[in-house]
């Protein structure tokens, strides 16, 4: 990275994005406290994208991809990494310009680097969500997923949200000019990403691939699934369905599925059926959420 100033440390990258998107009127939220496979799954994105109420938020979300673990031995692949997530609903007309502003804020000069919007239509079959947009490339590297949500939970959206998902480690590696994620400077003073996370990758990889008890995972998956329907049938103090707790159980079920998958416990023939079950649960939550909002209006 050829900038006159010192490239941003990992945490400073996050702080810079927080400041930038905070100034654009986003609520700066904290990571959701349940394991998710992608920042989109945070209820601040998936559920808030439904209905017609305006919403602006930004947050960091750890993404758990048990099958992607490489015991800390691959310089680019992690089973736990961070996404920076921004959602703006409805999407402002100048979302692309706002986004480019965020790149400038972290020190990427578009006259020195090649920024490209390359077609990539995003889809997450597990939560029945889809949208049109791009992968944003910086010098050939995908640094952000830029999506205009068209549907969530199998339901077409009323108002379109613009969603930005930055791959923080990749972006930081790019900004710092580092080839191995574990060499990233986490702090300006020189604490490395490896010092923070390498041991975690080793232990979690082992547990993901060999450690977890498959029968236990399956049992818990079934429990979570049952819990979703149970919760959705209950009502809260204002007569609302318990969508938020129910959705939490969907996330847990989804993570359990990912763990089973990493353990190699999902036969090819079963796979679609598992994904279909999670999608149905998600759809039930989304439908209840939308009905609740319509009821309020």
């Amino acid at each position: 990275m050829t900038t006159s100033t010192e490239p941003l440390a990992f945490q400073d990258l996050i702080l810079t994005l927080h400041r930038y998107w905070g100034e654009q009127g986003c609520a700066i939220l904290q990571p959701y406290d349940i394991e998710v496979g992608a920042g989109t799954l945070h209820p601040a994105t998936v559920l808030r994208a439904l209905g017609s109420k305006p919403w602006k938020a930004a947050y960091v979300q750890p993404s758990r991809r048990p099958g992607d673990g490489r015991y800390g031995e691959n310089p680019n692949r992690l089973q736990h990494y961070y996404q920076y997530q921004v959602i703006l609903k409805p999407n402002p007309d100048n979302l692309q310009e706002l986004y480019l502003g965020s790149l400038a804020a972290i020190g990427i000069d578009p006259k020195l680097h090649d920024i490209r919007f390359v077609e990539d239509d995003w889809e997450n079959p597990t939560v029945g969500a889809w949208g049109l947009g791009w992968e944003v490339w910086c010098d050939g590297m995908e640094v952000t997923q830029f999506t205009y949500f068209q549907g969530v939970g199998g339901i077409e959206v009323d108002v379109v949200s613009g969603e930005l998902t930055y791959g923080l480690e990749r972006l930081a590696m790019y900004v710092q000019g580092v080839d191995n994620v574990y060499d990233l400077k986490f702090t300006k003073e020189g604490l490395t990403y490896g010092e923070v996370f390498l041991e975690n990758e080793r232990q979690q990889s082992e547990a993901n691939f060999h450690g977890y008890d498959v029968d236990g995972l399956k049992r818990r998956f079934e429990d979570m699934v049952a819990e979703v329907s149970r919760l959705l049938a209950l009502t809260g103090p204002q007569g609302q369905p318990l969508v938020l707790p129910a959705y939490d159980q969907v996330l847990k079920a989804s993570h359990l599925f990912n763990l089973m998958d990493a353990r190699g416990a999902i036969a090819v023939a079963e796979r679609q059926s598992y994904i279909g079950r999670i999608r149905e649960l998600c759809k039930a939550c989304a439908t209840a959420y939308v009905e609740r909002e319509r009821g309020e209006a």
Partner: protein, 691 residues
């Protein structure tokens, strides 16, 4: 005459959709303007990453006054029909005209200002535009491929006023996102628009963008003694990804050249959209992708087409791209290394869990069938049966490998590499690599016997299976590429001179696969062969004439067609054909009256014309010669034998009256003509031949 300039300026349009959109815009606007009675001098559309542009020169300022005559009911038609017609046209009975008992209405309409028509047309076109995928944005309801930012619409230098879902038409556009001045550009006409855009680093015409890419890319390569590996598909794509495409040559870590060149190229192309670069020019300025015989020897470089002319000359940008490529190739090397640890047995085991088609079982079951079949076919193509079976058992394994999971295009190719590394003989590895061939009419046909056996087995299994479950191609729909598979079989058989009874082989496959009878499959092959031969310039009727004999040996069929074509091109052939037609017409006429006599032709009858006896001897001689020739499949000799009939046939028709009043004479002559037809019919059904 006035000019129309329209630009729909949006966020980045997917590269693969741009040129289709330019055609759709052309068609949709043309259709609507024509329907209003307008004509013009020239219409051109342009598509690029952020804009669709249309310019029409010489468009009249108003649409013409028009009179349209509409045909109505007959004057004698019932009252209701007349009433309906009057309602439709809004006229009264006395305004209709009558001609030949039919009523006509003449509707006249005043011309209108073209500006109004344009405003209406743009609205309709935008709302009905057939994007492969479209989206909504913000709180609006309009759909487009990506959000529309502006619409520039000028007619005769003035803005055509309209508003579509909150977007007001204007004379304003924007230049390059990063290289431009950032000022809004106000256009007065097309030339001004295009000039200003170019000054602001936007090449409007995709042809200009491609030219710039090729020229600068080749120059950048040449400056370092390198050669660009042309790739038209990639060129089309990158020309749709940059408004100011700027080729930059970058360096790649040479250690990655140890990977198979196909992997390196595909990784560059699919993930990064880079062109590959060769080190030494074989001849000329650039080189195509090498066909059979391997991929080109790559240089440790890549060529990226950026969208900016970077202020540092592209140094930072090239370094960044190089790092990304290294990460990609590291991934590829990971698959390459891991795959070698896994191997064929584990992959084949995985195929047991992969469904090929719900009614045709798993891939593992398919491999079993192909292996058995390859073994059967091996002796027919001169291949070692054990090797053919071994290759067939390996041929689909790479579908379960990491590399093919990442790059499906490398199916077969990776299997070939892995088989060689695992120590299998070259014949087996080559067969694994090439058994998908030929993949299309332009692809080369394998010639190595083991490969031919596996390639045939692979395709025959597919064809028999899908025909048995009645998944045949219909019209333009051929989801399982069965036409390609059948053409592949035909080309493998013909180009390798494989002698087999296709019907017998297909029957054998069907019995072994237990899927049931593949009805109609032989006719399907016949159609494909006809198409192939027609494409090679063979007359359709000659193919039909040979097919009528019921042969199912493709090699023999084609040889016969070729010999027949050569024969008919000769004077003897053409005249004999005429003689045949004459004989067969006479016989057909007689057959209508009753049974036509057959049997021995008498010679030496009293008063028998010499031409008759000469023909009788000639037919006997020809029969023997034709039979001998056909037995040894010497079709040229068979034709020569027939050629000997030409003079006697001509002389016979010249000198002899078939319909003699003497019944014995007539019977004898009819028998003789029947024999001429039968002898010729052994070679081809001349009745099917035009001429």
């Amino acid at each position: 005459m006035p000019q129309l300039l329209l630009e729909i300026f949006s966020e980045e349009i997917p590269a693969r959709m741009q040129q289709g959109a330019a055609r759709d815009l052309d068609r949709m606007v043309s259709d609507r303007l024509k329907a209003a009675g307008l004509t013009w001098d020239a219409l051109t559309t342009y598509a690029g990453p952020r804009r669709l542009t249309l310019v029409i020169d010489g468009l009249p300022a108003a649409t013409p006054d028009r009179e349209e005559e509409i045909k109505g009911p007959k004057a004698s038609a019932p009252e209701q029909a007349l009433e309906g017609f009057l309602r439709k046209t809004g006229l009264t009975r006395d305004q209709l005209t009558e001609r030949d008992g039919v009523l006509y209405a003449v509707l006249s309409s005043k011309g209108r200002a073209t500006t109004d028509l344009i405003a209406e047309t743009v609205d309709q076109v935008i709302r009905a535009f057939p994007w492969p995928k479209s989206m909504r944005w913000g709180s609006g309801s309009l759909r487009w491929v990506r959000p529309i930012k502006r619409i520039l619409c000028l007619f005769d230098g003035k803005v055509v006023p309209f508003e579509i879902d909150g977007i007001q038409s204007d004379a304003i556009t924007e230049g390059h996102r990063f290289l431009g001045s950032g000022q809004l550009l106000k256009a007065s006409d097309f030339v001004d628009y295009r000039t200003q855009l170019e000054r602001e680093f936007v090449l409007l015409d995709v042809a200009d963008r491609k030219l710039r890419i090729l020229e600068e890319a080749k120059a950048a390569c040449a400056a370092r003694g390198l050669v660009l590996v042309d790739d038209d598909g990639l060129l089309d794509e990158v020309a749709g990804l940059a408004e100011w495409p700027t080729p930059i040559l970058g360096d790649m870590d040479p250690q990655f050249l140890a990977l198979p060149p196909e992997v390196v190229r595909l990784s560059m192309k699919v993930h990064q959209k880079y062109f590959a670069v060769r080190s030494s020019p074989p001849s000329g300025g650039s080189t195509r992708e090498a066909g059979e015989g391997g991929a080109p020897q790559l240089a440790p470089n890549f060529l990226v087409v950026a969208n900016v002319e970077a202020t540092d000359g592209g140094k930072a940008l090239a370094a960044g791209n190089s790092r990304v490529l290294s990460a990609r190739l590291n991934d590829a090397r990971f698959f390459w290394d891991e795959d070698q640890k896994v191997g064929f047995d584990a992959w084949n085991e995985k195929l047991k869990g992969v469904t090929f088609h719900a009614k045709l079982g798993t891939l593992a079951e398919r491999v079993e069938r192909i292996a058995a079949l390859a073994r059967e076919i091996a002796p027919l193509v001169g291949a070692d049966a054990d090797q053919a079976e071994t290759a067939a058992r390996l041929c689909k394994a790479d579908l379960a490998s990491g590399m093919v999971g990442e790059f499906p295009e490398l199916q077969g190719i990776m299997g070939g590499y892995y088989a060689r590394l695992a120590g299998y003989p070259d014949a087996v590895a080559d067969a694994v690599r090439d058994h998908y061939k030929p993949q299309g009419p332009a692809d080369t046909v394998p010639t190595a016997p083991v490969t031919v056996a596996v390639a045939l087995a692979d395709k025959l299994d597919t064809l028999v299976g899908f025909f048995a479950i009645d998944e045949k191609p219909t019209g333009s729909k051929d989801p399982f590429a069965l036409r390609r598979a059948a053409l592949g079989v035909i080309r493998l058989v013909l180009e390798n001179g494989v002698r087999l009874s296709l019907g017998g082989v297909l029957f054998g496959v069907a019995v072994a696969s237990k899927f049931g009878a593949p009805t109609g499959i032989l006719a399907f092959f016949a159609d494909r062969l006809t198409v192939l031969l027609r494409d090679q310039g063979q007359r359709h009727d000659l193919v039909a004439a040979v097919f009528a004999l019921g042969d199912d040996d493709l090699v023999r069929i084609v040889r016969r067609v070729e010999a027949l074509a050569a024969f008919l091109a000769t004077d003897d052939g053409a005249n004999l054909l005429a003689g045949y037609k004459r004989a067969s017409n006479i016989l057909r006429a007689e057959e209508k009256k009753g049974p036509v006599p057959t049997g021995m032709v008498q010679t030496g009858l009293p008063n028998q014309p010499e031409a008759e006896t000469t023909l009788a001897f000639a037919v006997n001689a020809a029969r023997t010669a034709v039979e001998t020739a056909l037995e040894s499949e010497d079709f040229a000799a068979a034709m020569t034998a027939l050629a000997a009939l030409r003079a006697p046939v001509d002389a016979f028709f010249e000198a002899v009256m078939v319909n003699s009043e003497v019944p014995e004479e007539r019977d004898n002559r009819l028998k003789l003509l029947g024999q001429v037809r039968d002898v010729m019919g052994q070679v081809a059904d001349f009745g099917q031949i035009a001429g």
